[in-house]
Symmetry: C2
Subunit: 232 residues, 2 copies
DNA sequence: TGTACATCAGTGAACGCGCGTTCACTGATGTAC
DNA sequence: TGTACATCAGTGAACGCGCGTTCACTGATGTAC
């Protein structure tokens, strides 16, 4: 079980007047409560697959996690903190995954087309796995500035990694500004994925698109953009 | 003032056993109440620019519309019906606009590149204008099947128009399947616009992108995709 | 190894706030004669 | 043109439901001696 990236325990030194740290979670002291905490996180992510965060009540979460409402509040400063903690956990996982997946060395022997296809295909799966949570996060981001900034910083990291990867393949790319290209490709791919996250498989287009078709068209549009030959 | 596309008045004929019609609104009889209704719709759309639908209370809406809570409920079957009505109005407007904007004749003398740029640029503005409402609609679509289907039917219409336009320019396009191409281009463009709708100008990418850059890159990626020369 | 005590963890009924909805009433509009 | 009456429109205080949060209490764990 991957260790949780928790933010600041409750106990502080007397003279400690550091800036208002994010205190999303009351740090567990015993193993038992650590497990309760993780059960709560998992249960919530499960429940989010079927309903938005607002429609999932704290008592339901407690029930699903085989805990009580009281023990919930012993771990979290409130319902909002729960979503923050899930966000935290999700970002940690994404960051680690990205770092490995986008390392240029790994892709040295593969064509840009195949690289793109693998990437898109993997991302589609990854996003599907976390669909419920992602939907909840998308929704809260429309309001919560803090969550938005955390997501932005992850996105920024991903774009940097992507730019480095594209840089290592400069000869295969015709876009003049690689940083811009990385940024925009990221935008396109992730907004498509977000759309799927939000609306589910039957997205709000005419007909639902099979996964393979989707992956193929996404791959093609990225490639076409990166390798575009201007006709003017 | 464009006439509202309202759905079914309350009075029905005795033997009327038509399928469960959508009754989102209690049809106004006097002019006065018609105006109240529109004031309520406009006020809501205004309030939605700053807050999600859940955080806008009915009494606030009434206040903003210079009406009372009671008169609100005289027009709408409930708070949900209000959003449905706004959706209705929005879809009507979009449909009409699309029909005109995508008519092939209008674009006969323009290059595909310029056509695309104009379109993307217009859409960006249109979506910005309705940002608040769109955000609310995106959110409710994650839950409400009826709203989702209505949006889907609009999307379907737009894709059809787009396919017809692309068809009329077959010679400039290299994609084998034009229907698929229309569908996918629509998806890409609208998911990017949705992303902006949701997150505002400072979307969750590294740095916010200037409008002109955004329009330009969107234009280029669409063109590149439609005119792609396979290098294999 | 055993006992006492402190702290941590867990429980779930009760509380209270916010907000959607109702309802008894007043005022405005339109129509019949 | 005027009056009576019916219907429509508007008002806002009061209600009640749902759900997040609290709290007094019980049980578990760990530590000191």
């Amino acid at each position: 079980v991957p260790k949780l990236a928790l933010v600041q325990p409750t106990n502080r030194n007397p003279g400690d007047n550091s800036p208002p740290e994010l205190r999303w979670i009351r740090a567990p002291v015993q193993d038992r409560s650590q497990r309760t905490l993780e059960r709560i996180l998992d249960a919530t992510e499960l429940l989010l697959d079927n309903r938005p965060f607002d429609k999932v009540s704290v008592s339901e979460i407690a029930k699903e996690a085989k805990a009580s409402v009281g023990s919930f509040y012993a771990r979290f400063d409130g319902k909002a903190a729960l979503l923050y903690a899930l966000h935290e956990r999700y970002i940690e996982e994404s960051r680690a995954t990205t770092e490995k997946a986008l390392a240029p060395e790994q892709w040295a022997a593969v064509t840009l087309e195949e690289l793109t296809r693998q990437m898109v295909s993997f991302l589609l799966m990854f996003h599907r796995e976390h669909q419920g949570l992602r939907r909840a996060l998308v929704m809260i981001q429309t309001t919560d500035e803090q969550v938005r900034q955390r997501s932005a910083s992850l996105a920024s990291f991903v774009v940097d990694c992507l730019a480095r990867l594209l840089e290592s393949r400069r000869s295969e790319i015709r876009r003049p500004d690689i940083t811009l290209a990385a940024d925009f490709v990221h935008r396109v791919v992730f907004s498509l994925l977000d759309q799927i996250t939000i609306y589910g498989p039957n997205s709000p287009t005419s007909k639902p698109m099979a996964d393979e078709v989707l992956v193929e068209e996404m791959t093609q549009i990225c490639l076409a953009y990166l390798q575009q030959v201007r006709t003017t």
